[in-house]
């Protein structure tokens, strides 16, 4: 049903920058929504008006009754639902891209300043400013961005908006049509001369697809709520450990540490694999170091890898996140 390629490519990018629950949500969105819309769109709802038949010969009665029965077709409603529900995710992607580009520009400026030969106090001051700004963006040792600060705020806001929109659209669908398609619609609207029975085409098949899309919508909503809870727990546990984290000595991180495999909150900088690993920052805040320690502890403590984590990048394997995803990008589902 139409051309979803561009939106698919954008949502594909977001998948690399999401939590595990976020990735499941995206997969559900792709497989169960776009594919089903494509499948059901033309074949089931294609003849909805031409086969909508009213028991009357009055010209125009069928048109007005169809309009009264279906102010907006289910298929178009689901397309709009899909678009609106994807929009917060795209806003988040915009923020990620903005931060990645800012980080690249700062790195470039830093490189240029360091290349200057003279020990100028102004150059030192400029370098210090750039390093402060780069520390805010918080890059890990493998050159990836971390979700914290403003980015975490955007992520949480996007998940919240998604949930609200999803719930809103489900409620709207219930108010408009309910969850089943009745085979007969009784219509009384001018120019129909009396109460007219109108017969909907394929009511049972449409009911099946309506219930299917309802279940997908509910799963999507549940996933969003789970993700919110997951993020809240992470924030709370990070907040609880940071007062105690003053005693933890900051450990020197290097690129060989397998903690880089933990891909929950990592974002690639620039074009991904081609960007060099970022130098370690000694001036870490204690909360940042504690986040690093917490994830390392968790990874070491888990007996088996979580379902949706990739094997370590050193193995050189790339697992596809979902059907039809581009193999050139690193995928983590």
């Amino acid at each position: 049903m139409g051309d979803w390629g561009f939106l698919e490519k954008l949502l594909d990018q977001v998948q690399e920058h999401s939590t595990v629950v976020g990735k499941i949500w995206l997969t559900v969105l792709f497989i169960f929504r776009i594919l089903i819309l494509g499948l059901a769109g033309e074949s089931v709802w294609g003849d909805e008006q031409s086969d909508f038949e009213c028991n009357t010969a009055q010209p125009g009665c069928t048109n007005v009754c169809y309009d009264q029965a279906f102010p907006i077709s289910h298929i178009r409603y689901w397309v709009l639902q899909f678009l609106f529900v994807s929009t917060p995710t795209l806003v988040y992607l915009g923020h990620v891209i903005y931060l990645s580009r800012r980080e690249e520009r700062l790195r470039q400026k830093e490189g240029e300043l360091r290349a200057l030969p003279a020990k100028d106090p102004r150059v030192e001051r400029a370098l210090a400013t750039i390093e402060r700004q780069m520390a805010k963006i918080s890059v890990a040792e493998d050159g990836r961005l971390r979700i914290r600060g403003a980015l975490m705020g955007t992520y949480v806001a996007s998940v919240l908006c998604k949930s609200v929109l999803e719930a809103g659209f489900l409620y709207g669908q219930w108010r408009l049509y309910g969850w089943t398609m009745e085979p007969v619609f009784v219509c009384q609207r001018a120019p129909c001369p009396y109460l007219v029975d109108c017969f909907v085409s394929r009511p049972t098949e449409k009911t099946i697809f309506i219930i299917f899309m309802l279940v997908v919508g509910l799963i999507s909503l549940v996933l969003n709520v789970l993700e919110l809870a997951h993020l809240l727990c992470r924030c709370l546990s990070r907040g609880m450990r940071s007062p105690r984290g003053q005693d933890t000595p900051p450990t020197q991180r290097n690129s060989s540490e397998p903690y880089a495999d933990q891909v929950f909150f990592y974002l690639p900088v620039g074009d991904g694999p081609s960007s060099p690993p970022c130098p370690t920052y000694n001036g870490l805040s204690s909360s940042e170091q504690n986040w690093a320690n917490l994830t390392t502890e968790e990874r070491l403590a888990s007996s088996r890898a979580p379902l949706f984590l990739d094997p370590p990048p050193e193995s050189g394997q790339k697992s596809p996140s979902r059907p039809n995803s581009s193999a050139s990008k690193k995928q983590y589902v």
Binding site: D3, F6, S50, G60, V64, P71, R76, L90
Partner: protein
């Protein structure tokens, strides 16, 4: 209809746009092009077949449909999309022209693709103004052509060969109204984005000019002092 050509061209524009320009492109791609291809085209698919007049007179339906819809709303939507995207191609052409010149003269004329200076700034500025003009123009045209942004379910027609004033019923008027309102809202959003981008460009240019003037005046006063000292 294949829109991939327009899409590929617009993707090239992305490189030479400001941040707001990229947001505009994303809005155009997702909320206009995608919605048009995936949903709107299907709503208007059978518009003439399902257009019904309460008369048996042959030809009456045809003339009434032609009178009420000189151009289908969905085709106007497509035209608007094309016209609004075209000014962005001016920027692409300008950059291509300058890249050709760079190759001939074997030197860099632009600091980097992201920086807009000199002629490219003016081209971008003009393209923004033309885009905004097209957007507003098409919205006004829509309003004037169809007497507002809603589609009624019944229209009365008394053109020849219809023997009297005849009731004509339009198919899916509510769904069409929903999509037209959607189109209007997104167009207004694009107009707002264009205005923000225009102001942003002008402001940035003014600030740059002021800073340059200020630093020049500082330099000249420092030189004067240096000369005095020397």
């Amino acid at each position: 209809m294949s829109w991939t050509f327009l899409r590929d061209l617009l993707t090239g524009v992305n490189k030479y746009s400001t941040g707001i320009g990229r947001i505009w492109l994303a809005v155009v791609f997702i909320f206009r092009l995608l919605v048009y291809v995936v949903a709107a085209e299907h709503v208007w698919k059978d518009e003439q077949k399902e257009f019904e007049c309460n008369v048996n007179q042959p030809g009456c339906e045809n003339v009434c449909f032609d009178h009420f819809f000189p151009i289908s709303q969905v085709r106007l939507w497509a035209l608007q999309l094309i016209m609004v995207s075209t000014p962005s191609l001016l920027v692409v052409l300008h950059v291509a022209y300058h890249e050709g010149r760079e190759k001939r003269h074997r030197k860099r004329l632009y600091v980097s693709p992201g920086m807009m200076d000199g002629g490219l700034w003016y081209t971008y500025f003009i393209s923004l103004i033309v885009k905004t003009g097209f957007e507003i123009g098409f919205l006004v045209l829509f309003y004037k052509l169809y007497d507002g942004f809603s589609v009624p379910y019944l229209m009365k027609c008394d053109l020849k060969p219809c023997p009297n004033t005849v009731d004509c019923f339009i198919s899916k008027p509510t769904e069409k109204t929903i999509f037209i309102l959607f189109l209007v809202i997104i167009s207004c959003l694009c107009i707002v984005l264009n205005f923000i981008e225009l102001s942003f460009l002008v402001l940035k240019c003014l600030i740059k000019c002021c800073v340059q003037k200020y630093s020049k005046s500082l330099q000249s006063s420092a030189c004067e002092r240096h000369n005095l000292i020397c």
